[in-house]
């Protein structure tokens, strides 16, 4: 199967990526970022869950890229993690966010960095839940996504907003889905005696007709790939 980016995400779209913890959301985002960079685009990656250094180490550890491949270092990280736990600025971070719960500030930082991306770049917010767990008002989260999505679309770029499934009620997830152009769901299947299966399903892009069935995400020699459908 050809690259996820080409198969799954039409140019110039806003996407919500929703799934339970450990279902492979971050891995998927990294794979998309790496593919974009390999095709000459840029990737801006806001992380709330780990330092850029650790994310890259983990990505390499699971085989998203090989040891001598420097693609990962080209991801432009915005670090919304280190400060909160009192760490120094990460060497791969081009910017950092001191107070992830100040959503206006977060929006500004992302916009400042997104503005200088080349066209067809990918912006990833991993995760919106991490930014908003500090009891943001729902209206603020919606507005954050609506505004950011359209700013990024206007520049001809794509954006992925990651959402932890368990961290929000269904009405919130639904209302956020209505503000973006497509949704990707991930899930884990845990059957007794079988290795864990991670799957994704792509829903609703106007004009594109992606397969709506669950497809398995397989970590192989060439990173994360989709199988079945």
């Amino acid at each position: 199967m050809s690259t996820l980016l080409k198969e799954g995400l039409p140019q110039g779209t806003s996407i919500l990526l929703v799934g339970p913890p450990g279902s492979g959301k971050t891995s998927l985002c990294l794979q998309l970022a790496l593919e974009g960079i390999r095709e000459g685009c840029e990737a801006l990656y806001l992380t709330t869950e780990s330092t850029p250094t650790n994310i890259l180490a983990h990505a390499q550890g699971v085989g998203l890229f090989q040891k001598d491949d420097t693609t990962g270092t080209k991801i432009k990280f915005i670090d919304a993690y280190s400060w909160a736990i009192g760490m120094r600025k990460d060497e791969y971070a081009i910017d950092r966010i001191n107070n992830p719960s100040d959503i206006n500030k977060v929006s500004l930082v992302i916009m400042n960095q997104a503005q200088i991306l080349s066209p067809r770049s990918l912006v990833i917010v991993d995760s919106v839940s991490g930014l908003t767990l500090a009891s943001q008002k729902k209206e603020r989260i919606r507005n954050f996504i609506h505004v950011l999505a359209h700013r990024i679309l206007r520049q001809g770029n794509r954006v992925v907003f990651v959402l932890e499934e368990g961290a929000h009620d269904m009405a919130t997830i639904n209302s956020l889905r209505s503000l973006v152009q497509g949704t990707i769901f991930t899930r884990i299947i845990d059957r007794d005696g079988c290795p864990l299966r991670r799957e994704l399903r792509i829903l609703s892009f106007i004009g594109a007709s992606p397969k709506t069935s669950w497809m398995e995400m397989v970590l192989g020699n060439e990173g994360l790939q989709l199988e079945g459908g």
């Binding site: 110039g12 700013r151 639904n174 503000l179 152009q181 949704t183 106007i206 397969k211 069935s213």
Partner: protein, 228 residues
């Protein structure tokens, strides 16, 4: 003329709703509603009628591209796209018709009324009431809907108003349903692992409607749905 509304697919791929009826298009989040609405408008454009599409999620360019796919370049020119997107990011619109702000429903109303002032028998899609409810009080959106739909009806313009299911306060949804002439429903069904979308005209006040469900696909024609 029969009062049985054809929701089924005619050879010209045209869905017909009673002229001037004001319909809510209700369904789960996602964009099938938008795709359906644009496709519906396109089918009317093909009949040399005029359509208005107010958009807050899809960019005007994406709406036009979708319309062109459905009805061809020439006909798509008669589509008036109202840009409700650039104001979200406080940027100037590249479109001739645009909202200034999503916070000001009076202005939005005014813009739409102007856009349809010269029309008779056209088609209007508002995508979506749900987005407006993020920016304004739901009760204000209800009032907006009542005013706009009354004027649209005056002009014999068929109105389709998109509303997300499972998002809003049930009371406001009930009030909207009560104020509208009818409801088009979208439902998701899973068949053999793939997700399909079913569309049906649930009811239109004062009309007997054919309300069987049709399978929506973006590319092919609508089809009867059978579970196999």
């Amino acid at each position: 003329m029969s009062d049985l509304i054809q929701v089924s697919f005619t050879p010209a791929n045209t869905l017909e709703f009673p002229r001037g009826s004001q319909l809510l298009l209700i369904g789960p989040p996602g964009t099938v509603k938008a795709a359906f609405a644009i496709r519906y408008l396109s089918s009317r454009l093909k009949q040399k009628e005029i359509g208005i599409y107010a958009t807050t999620v899809w960019t005007p360019k994406q709406v036009r591209e979708a319309a062109i796919r459905f009805c061809g370049k020439v006909r798509a020119k008669t589509l008036r796209v109202v840009d409700g997107v650039s104001c979200v990011t406080s940027q100037a619109s590249e479109e001739p018709i645009a909202f200034q702000s999503l916070f000001n429903l009076n202005l939005i109303s005014l813009t739409l009324l102007q856009t349809m002032s010269d029309l008779e028998n056209g088609h209007l899609c508002i995508d979506s009431l749900s987005t407006l409810m993020i920016y304004a009080e739901p009760t204000a959106v209800l009032k907006f809907f009542q005013v706009l739909s009354a004027r649209a009806k005056d002009h014999k313009i068929t109105g389709i108003y998109l509303l997300e299911e499972g998002v809003h306060d049930p009371e406001i949804v009930a009030a909207l349903r009560f104020s509208a002439d009818g409801v088009i429903e979208v439902r998701e069904v899973e068949v053999k692992g793939a997700l399909h979308h079913l569309i049906r005209l649930a009811y239109v006040r004062g009309h007997r409607v054919n309300n069987r469900s049709l399978l929506f696909s973006e590319n092919g024609p609508y089809q009867e749905f059978n579970k196999e």
